[in-house]
C-alpha cells in the first residue's frame, strides 16, 4: 500500500473515529485500529516536520 497523502491520512483517521463511535465495535480490532491511527498521526506529523522554506525560482519558462 502506497503512503497516503495528508488529506487521505486525515480522512482515514476520521473513518477510524466513526468506526469506534459505533456501538458494535469489536474489542479484538480495537488495538489494531488504534495502532493504525497512531501510524497515520505519525505520518501527518512527519509531513509537517519543521523545515526551512525552500524557494525555487521559476524562470525562463514564463508564459507571455
Amino acid at each position: 500500500m502506497s503512503e497516503p497523502t495528508y488529506a487521505e491520512a486525515v480522512a482515514e483517521l476520521e473513518a477510524i473515529l466513526v468506526r469506534l463511535e459505533r456501538d458494535d465495535v469489536d474489542v479484538d480490532h480495537l488495538a489494531e485500529q488504534v495502532q493504525r491511527a497512531a501510524v497515520l498521526l505519525r505520518l501527518c506529523r512527519s509531513k509537517l516536520a519543521a523545515a526551512k522554506v525552500e524557494i525555487e525560482a521559476v524562470l525562463g519558462d514564463v508564459d507571455d
Binding site: 488529506a7 485500529q33 497512531a38 522554506v53
Partner: protein, 422 residues
C-alpha cells in the same frame, strides 16, 4: 532662384517677416491671449520620464485621423506643488493613466516644439475614469461567470506548495518569504519574478499565473508592496483578471493597499491586504490542517479507551453475576439442608416414641401368645410320647401314655376307654 533681400523688420509695411525666435515669441503671445487662463486637456499619459528634475510625457488620444499627441512638461517646482494633491488621491502619474490636466501652451523656441506646461490636474477625472473602467471590467467578468470562478476552488488541506508572483527581492517578497519562514513549516515556494508596475506588468503577472498554474502549486500568492492607487493599474487589467479567473489553483492576493480593492482582489479566491497577511493566512491554513490529525487522534484514543472500559465493565458485571448466582445457589442448598435437619431434630423423638409404643403393643401382643402364660392361668399342652400334640380326643387312643405340660412341670397319664373308669 534669386532671393530678394527682404527687410525683416516687423515695423515694415507689407508682409511681416519673423525671425524664428520672434515667431516663437509671437506664437506664444497669441497662445496666451487665446487661452487666457490656460487650457484643460484630457488624454492618456505616454512616454513618461523624469529628467533633470522635471517630468516629461505626452498626452495621447486615438482619433479618426490616427493618434494625436501633445508633449507635456511638468517642471520640478510645479511637480512638488502638485504632489500633495496626487498623494491625497493616491494617484501617481504613469503611462497609460487617463488624465485631465491644466497648463499653458508654449512653443519652445530651441526645439520648435509646442508643448503644454502643466500646472494642474483634475484627480476626480482620473479616479472616475478608473472607477468606470473597473466597473465595466467587473460587469464583463460577472456576465462571463468569471468573477467567482477562482473563489469556488477548494484550497488543498495542506497548502505547502506555494506559487509566488512578486518582484524578486522587493519588500513585498521579503515580507511574505520571511513570514512563511518564521512559521517553521516546510513551505516550498515556486517563485516567478515579475514587474508589478509599468507597461509590461499586467502581461508579466498574467504570464506568471499561467506558468504557476501548470506547475502543480497548491495555491498562488500574488503580492506587491504598498503604493499609489494608480500603481495598481496592472491589477485592474482584464488580462490579469482573466488569468486569475482561469487559474486552476486558488489565487491569494496581498497587494499592499489598505483601502482600495483592485479587480484582481475581486476575482481572487482570497484577497488579503498585505503580503504579510497573505503569508499569515497560509500559515493559519496549514496550522489548522496540522491540528486536525492531532484532534482526531485524541478522539480516537479517547474513544478506544472508552470502548475498553465499557468492555471491562461488561466483563466485571457478568463475572459478578456469575458469582452472585453461585453464592445464592449455595446459600439455597445450605438453607434447605438446615431446614431438613431442623425438621429431623424436631420430629425424630416423636417418631421414636411412636415406635416404642408400637413395640410395646407388639410385646404385649407377643406376651399374650406365650404358652407359659397360658399355662400359668391353668391351660396345659398334652402331647403323646412321640411328642405329637393331642388336639382332639381322636389323637389319643385308649392306653396311650400322654405327657401333659403344666405351669409347674409335666404330668404323665394313660388314656382310658370311654366306658372305662379309672
Amino acid at each position: 532662384m534669386s532671393q530678394p533681400a527682404l527687410d525683416l523688420d516687423l515695423d515694415d509695411l507689407g508682409d511681416p517677416t519673423y525671425s524664428v525666435a520672434e515667431l516663437a515669441d509671437a506664437v506664444n503671445q497669441v497662445l496666451r491671449r487665446g487661452f487666457r487662463d490656460g487650457v484643460w486637456v484630457r488624454g492618456e499619459i505616454e512616454g513618461y520620464q523624469l529628467r533633470g528634475g522635471h517630468v516629461w510625457f505626452s498626452l495621447g488620444e486615438d482619433g479618426d485621423r490616427g493618434r494625436a499627441t501633445l508633449p507635456v512638461v511638468l517642471f520640478g517646482g510645479t511637480a512638488a506643488r502638485l504632489r500633495p494633491l496626487l498623494v491625497r488621491h493616491r494617484l501617481r502619474l504613469r503611462d497609460g493613466l487617463l488624465v485631465r490636466i491644466h497648463g499653458r501652451l508654449d512653443l519652445y523656441a530651441p526645439t520648435g516644439r509646442l508643448s503644454l506646461v502643466m500646472d494642474g490636474l483634475d484627480p476626480t477625472f482620473t479616479l472616475g475614469q478608473m472607477a468606470a473602467d473597473r466597473d465595466q471590467l467587473l460587469r464583463t467578468l460577472v456576465a462571463e461567470g468569471l468573477l467567482d470562478r477562482n473563489r469556488r476552488l477548494r484550497v488543498p488541506l495542506l497548502p505547502l506548495r506555494v506559487g509566488l508572483v512578486a518582484s524578486a527581492g522587493s519588500a513585498a517578497w521579503h515580507d511574505l518569504v520571511d513570514e512563511l519562514g518564521r512559521s517553521g513549516l516546510p513551505f516550498h515556494l515556486l517563485a516567478v519574478d515579475v514587474r508589478v508596475q509599468g507597461a509590461t506588468a499586467a502581461a508579466e503577472v498574467a504570464g506568471a499565473l499561467r506558468t504557476l498554474g501548470r506547475r502543480g502549486c497548491d495555491v498562488i500568492a500574488v503580492v506587491r508592496g504598498g503604493g499609489a492607487r494608480s500603481d495598481l493599474a496592472a491589477f485592474d487589467t482584464e488580462v490579469v483578471a482573466r488569468a486569475i479567473a482561469a487559474s486552476p489553483v486558488p489565487v491569494l492576493t496581498g497587494l499592499g493597499h489598505e483601502i482600495d480593492r483592485s479587480v484582481a482582489d475581486e476575482v481572487a479566491h482570497t484577497a488579503l491586504k498585505t503580503p504579510t497577511a497573505c503569508a499569515t493566512h497560509l500559515v493559519e491554513l496549514v496550522r489548522a490542517a496540522q491540528q486536525e490529525p492531532e484532534r482526531l487522534w485524541t478522539a480516537v484514543s479517547a474513544r478506544a479507551a472508552q470502548r475498553l472500559d465499557a468492555a471491562e465493565r461488561r466483563l466485571r458485571s457478568v463475572s459478578q453475576g456469575v458469582e452472585r448466582a453461585g453464592r445464592s445457589a449455595e446459600a439455597g442448598a445450605t438453607r434447605r439442608l438446615d431446614v431438613a435437619t431442623a425438621r429431623l431434630r424436631e420430629r425424630a423423638p416423636a417418631a421414636v416414641g411412636r415406635a416404642e409404643r408400637v413395640l410395646d403393643v407388639l410385646a404385649v401382643r407377643t406376651g399374650a401368645l406365650d404358652p407359659a402364660r397360658a399355662m400359668a392361668r391353668g391351660w396345659s399342652i398334652t402331647r403323646r410320647l412321640d411328642g405329637t400334640l393331642v388336639r382332639s380326643p381322636a389323637d389319643a387312643a385308649p392306653g396311650d401314655v400322654l405327657v401333659t405340660s403344666v405351669a409347674g412341670g409335666t404330668v404323665r397319664s394313660r388314656a382310658l376307654d370311654d366306658e372305662e373308669t379309672p
